[in-house]
Symmetry: C2
Subunit: 235 residues, 2 copies
């Protein structure tokens, strides 16, 4: 039985780190007191230690301890033994680079497919898709591949943002970018707004939170889906 939470963001406006999700995480991680944290995405260039400290404080509120994967001598072994995994946000390219460098892609896939609950936020959600080709992040390092964990049969666009109709800026809107993605790729993309998440249980994929999500399918007009929609039909 697979258990995955793919969240658009760690933090919603005006709220603390992971605060909006904590109640759900208490249930989601009910079978473990310790979470293995992967801090590789390094938001704002935070060190692995400093990032792990933030996560420790958040999870202490639901009585979970947290250990950073960088604290283990053998990260592959740490993943095998983990009873709960959290991959935090930051830069998706930095995260992907480091996962490949430490040879962790297959180990992560195995752990999740063997039933270890996986929580991803932002960059940690991007890597749940087929590729990281719909990240919003700046490509500040060159990873050996854009292929990701493929835990779901589509791509994720976290922090999905509707076009600002008042803007005079000529850069592309998010929707234009995803449309360009579909000139070169065929898989669906789920635009997850901040505060939304996908809850995967085995092959069921349900949209959670109070907001709709925007679905981009190849050669189709984008459309909105309501919370509680079953999304496992997308592929």
């Amino acid at each position: 039985m697979r258990h995955i939470i793919i969240a658009s963001t760690s933090t919603t406006h005006g709220s603390g780190y992971l605060e909006y999700l904590l109640k759900d995480l208490e249930l989601f991680f009910k079978n473990t007191e310790e979470i293995l944290f992967i801090p590789y995405a390094r938001p704002s260039g935070l060190s692995h230690d400093d990032y792990t400290q933030i996560v420790k404080i958040a999870f202490s509120k639901i009585n979970k301890t947290v250990k950073g994967i960088h604290e283990y001598e053998n990260p592959i072994d740490a993943l095998k033994k983990a009873k709960g995994i959290f991959v935090g946000g930051g830069n998706t390219f930095v995260l992907t680079y480091q996962l490949y460098k430490n040879n962790l892609i297959t180990s992560l896939q195995s752990a999740v497919n063997n039933g270890t609950p996986y929580l991803g936020t932002s960059a940690g959600s991007n890597i749940c898709g087929l590729t990281i080709k719909t990240t919003n992040d700046m490509p500040i390092v060159y990873p050996p591949s854009f292929n990701a964990l493929a835990l779901v049969p589509f791509n994720i666009n976290p922090h999905y943002l509707d076009p600002d109709t008042n803007s005079k800026h000529m850069g592309e809107t998010r929707e234009m970018r995803i449309k360009e993605f579909h000139n070169f790729n065929t898989q669906p993309v789920i635009g997850l707004r901040e505060g939304s998440w996908l809850h995967v249980q085995n092959d069921s994929i349900i949209l959670k939170g109070t907001l709709t999500a925007r679905i981009f399918e190849y050669n189709q007009i984008p459309y909105e889906v309501e919370p509680s929609t079953e999304l496992n039909i997308l592929k």
Copy 2:
């Protein structure tokens, strides 16, 4: 003598394609009646033909003819013979992928270093820097490298955008992204606002347009520079 224009955007708000630059381009391309256009960045997935058509119309206003590089059997040969080059905007990853695929990186560098005037806008400006690691674009294809033409000794961030202090969106600001870039890279980055461009003549690099540009140097607080500032001291 090198002649390069590195423009933030092709189009400013409320104005036609290249319109704000046409007077300068007339002078810049004064020694040629024909421009070789590289349409590889394919904005909105436009075909090479359709994109070239837009550029033809714009340049006809200053009595220049335009031919797309895709119209030539041998693009390397076309670059060698060109008397003026324009690389348009779109997706920087798509552009870079196609330049590598067609083996044009060295030919472009040689042409520019031998004095062929080069105009870049947006993605076509990104590739003038050392790497494409400060592009704003979505990584919709995987290029064989992030290394770019290195026509200037720093990186470009086109369409530079100041933080929106009213936003409730939790995604990173442009400044935060460039700061993260400097956790892994040391070269300066020039944030070029829409309507600004750099004019390179041999080793002189002057900021043009009416707006200031934002300079990000490794381990320094970002700062603004005024139009007409000589930027060749950055490295």
